[in-house]
Symmetry: D2
Subunit: 352 residues, 4 copies
């Protein structure tokens, strides 16, 4: 750890902290600062060498004279590109044992497309359209976390049934969001292929632990204001359960003065693919929040090295139960954008 | 609702939207904009009058030419100051049936002080110190949501036992955070007086519903990046269960370039007390994140009209399991700040 | 304008506001809200029709009962895609009257590459390298706005001389940042081809007016926390001087928890190209702040429809006076990325 | 400085960096990290001891393997509480040589009140009202930075005349905002007592240098998204001109989901008063943006230790040229709030 002291800390205070640390068997290396280098005031810094853990840091931080304690740490080992040596893929079995879809690890772009909220009438034809246009996976929400208690909350178990009945017809695996630890059995009963955890539950650690324990592929969505560091630590709750099928999904963040529904975090595709080994997906529908932004957001994600693109489709957006205005509804449009995305993905690789 | 169209929307597109709306029996009032008033381009706006619900808004929003649909709504009725006519208080029974502590509704400032994380050795003496210094309620965490899976996660059930054993000695009610819907029975078994929901669970609606159903007082903490509007809608999940013992707690938000651990949201004390009827508490320890900020943050909260102040205390911060560096540890300091806060709270009332 | 009243506004207060407005000869259309549509409290809204200007809005806003006054306005006409009918290009003459570089209006991707801060030894060879690798314009800063008064502030006039001497050799036009209205004559004396205004001066309206008056092409950089709306209004100060050679440059914004130096605003390329007629440039060096992010950020910008990419190059980054760590230094790397960007730009057009 | 290397940096790369540094005569102390302390990956860190300057840091940062270079620095010495030993005040002469107003350094709360934009009819009576209610200084804007070029830009020189004519009658010093380096002579001609620099010019360093050179008291307003660190460095441009009459003004920042016009930064009063020696003022009108927030925001600022409160008053807000809706217009209201603020300020001192 690195210890930063408040301006004006006295020598006796410094010695008290250092005595404690040395008592643990660690070495302390004071950094006298840069006396002559800057007319700005120095801050006293100590470097500590040894097997430091959280309890040590807490004890040091409790001193009045200590301004901050900076841990020396980085990407959790379970997801670290450097530790794991290469980008890894996640495979998702196709229904009926007919092969699998593989995402990440240098594989071609995977497109996940389906209805935002499952409904009885439109889910099947919408998912069929998505497949014809080139999608590899269908998404569909049966449980919807809604900002207000008066908004539509999803078809729940009926929705999972509609979604998996459609799967049997369409032949693509499905991803669906889980909101409650008590629904794990239900998701297993319907054999949902990829469990999605949503942005509002990005630090609901109990839920992350339970989805991790299922051993199923998990699509982890970044919290709308979580730093990348917080996000990786939270995602690591899933992997710590022995589940190495984590897929990391970006979906835009809260920001100031942006034009779309969320501030896009497209550039994190670059940084994440340089630091973690996990497949990276970009949600073009929830980041932009409008149909007219989807095609080009997907173009950017694909050209920049995302492993997958997630989007809403619906053959009749006016009848969509949630977020119809951001769903792509014309098959030719969808087919063209998926085709262009795949071209861009291939060409963009020259820059990886 | 108010409908905003994209620039350049054609007359035929407008008519299609309006025909749909009129078909529902609503009136549409086009706003032609301010042709002569500004050299900046007009946006076409329609006002719709009638019993509009979420499904109507979705259907309108699905039109390509519609830029946004603005609902005409405000503070949820359950919490609305104007609807409920006055500020309401929440009463929390003292242990052993010896009266109660009342917060809000114009009552004197309530101070909630205790250890951030319950430990076996220091909880009782710390809570005794808090009581002697003038606190009305003790806080203590048995379940801790931690950013990394390797951090200390709390004593769990043992912690609830330590906390409630201390309660029996100290004689003050206790507030403690609940993280998981499966722990509701446990919190009821130990008869925790106030259930706290944390910032990471601010939109974990399943948890909010379940704590609401207990009928217990609930301390709802604002999400670290939730807007006030989102926060009130989420808090309303609790009240919608028939639970009118909601206490709203501010604790700072994420921000850019601030000095303390979080960007303080002290000014929301003003706006909330002008719009909701609920008691408002400010968490001075988690907003500032350091001991040296606590006294004056509490002074501001009290002078500005908060009904309560929440803070960490610990008689031996170096041994605190979590966040010791922000805990107040000297009894005279604590007693002085509580006394000054109460003076400021009283004087500040002249400006309400 | 739309007027939103505070909850609980009385009928007499409403009538006072409406009487004033009707006295101006405008019509007022009250919106009674959605009485039955939502259990959330209604807010009273009035729509006003007529030639409303800023003074009227101020007068209405001064009423106690008025919560907000929403102007009905949008993109300034000078930059509005819908008003101007098509995307327009800006042409920049090549040195010695040997043709011109054209950016925007559907033209091929323009690459602006050069040293962040002009230095005597490395500017010429760095700009020659950029040209050989395929750049169309050279950038180079002679005046540097620096956060601290002790940081290097640029070579100033000597820098303009070095930059334009290099221009004579290289044969590409140059873009350089101007900080002070008193330097306009100097920039004209050295005939700087494109005047750049920086993020810290994004609302320094005096400077924007003066660069507008020169009639020169202007590269306007978005303020690091200005909304798109504020940015377009500020950029319009330039165009209001009769200067239609405005180029709009995105460069990342302040944000929370991002990995790169700034939070990328790549998605604004999409929204801006759908609303303004101006050429759009993305600064890949200042948005990412590190060399390893440049290639793929440029890939995204190009695939998403930017008209230009701006980046730092330097043949010896260790000797760069400012921001060397983000400069591309290997010619083959630069040549490959420019080539791939141009491919992506062409293919991405299929989605415009 | 502290050097942080990218994960996976090889030993040879480390040695290259260290050789360079040792070549400068500095010592390098590698920090091997916390191998056993955390299952999260280590980052290699080097500490460098010696007279490091900006050029050294740049050179190190240019290495590919270097992730970041952290300077060891803090509050600029010119403003540092610890360096300057105590809080210092700034004195502003009263018109006609009749004494002075002193702000900061433990003096009673100073109230700066006046019209947001100077107008011919209302400035004098508004400033007279402010004085009767207890204000110490009058504020009034003659030059207004406005987001759109079509908004009212102030009366300019005529405004300075109106403002100073009123000063002669009222007998209080005046503060007024300057936007353009070319107006310095004008402000000196009218002998404006305190030059204010606005939030949009918070990093317009040319302007800061010129106002610093006048030797006049300067009210420096924090940029709406500048970090405290950036703000102090920018303010230091003023003090570096030999001007020690800097007053630091907070006025709210951009944020996410807040209720008032800006996200209040009240808690920075605490942190700044613990780190800088300068008087601190809080602008309650521009931070809240509405009249109903002013009284209590001022209560918080005063109780929390601000040295001054800045606010808009106008005897006829409906006729105010700018921001009338946030101006206090009733003399008794103003007198009561100022009186309560002063009480709170005095009592709050017990916690300093």
């Amino acid at each position: 750890m690195i210890i930063q002291y408040h301006l004006g800390t006295g020598e006796d205070q410094l010695q008290a902290v250092r005595a404690l640390i040395r008592g643990w068997g660690f070495r302390v290396q004071p950094n006298p600062g840069e006396a002559g280098g800057s007319p700005e005031a120095s801050i006293q810094v100590d470097n500590v060498f040894g097997n430091v853990n959280d309890a040590h840091r807490r004890e040091v931080a409790a001193f009045d004279c200590v301004k901050s304690v900076i841990p020396i740490e980085g990407v959790p080992q379970n997801l670290s590109l450097i530790r794991r040596g290469m980008h890894h893929s996640v495979s998702i079995p196709l229904p009926g044992g007919k092969g699998e879809v593989t995402i990440g690890g240098g594989k071609p772009l995977v497109v996940m497309a389906g209805v935002c909220a499952v409904d009885a009438a439109y889910t099947l034809p919408s998912h069929q359209m998505a497949k014809r246009a080139g999608a590899n996976i269908n998404r569909g929400g049966a449980f919807k976390p809604r900002t207000s208690p008066y908004d539509f909350q999803g078809l729940k178990e009926d929705g999972l049934k509609v979604l998996t009945d459609a799967r049997a017809e369409v032949g693509l695996p499905v991803v669906s969001e889980i909101l409650d630890v008590r629904d794990i059995d239900l998701f297993m009963k319907y054999d949902i292929d990829v469990l999605q955890t949503g942005t509002r539950n990005a630090q609901n650690f109990e839920l992350l632990i339970e989805v991790g324990r299922t051993g199923k592929p998990v699509l982890y969505k970044r919290g709308f204001s979580n730093s990348i560091d917080e996000s990786l630590k939270a995602a690591n709750y899933i992997m710590e359960q022995g589940n190495d099928k984590l897929i990391f999904c970006l979906r835009g963040v809260k920001g100031i003065g942006h034009s779309f529904r969320n501030q896009g975090d497209l550039d994190e595709i670059i940084s994440l693919s340089q630091t973690i080994d996990r497949p990276i997906v970009y949600d073009v529908s929830h980041s932009t929040g409008r149909k007219s932004g989807v095609a080009r957001a997907g173009a950017m994600a694909a050209a920049g090295g995302a492993d997958g693109v997630l989007l809403d489709v619906h053959i009749s957006p006016a009848h969509a139960l949630v977020d119809g205005f951001q769903a792509i509804d014309v098959e030719e449009d969808l087919a063209r954008m998926i085709k262009v995305w795949r071209q861009l993905h291939t060409i963009g690789r020259a820059l990886n």
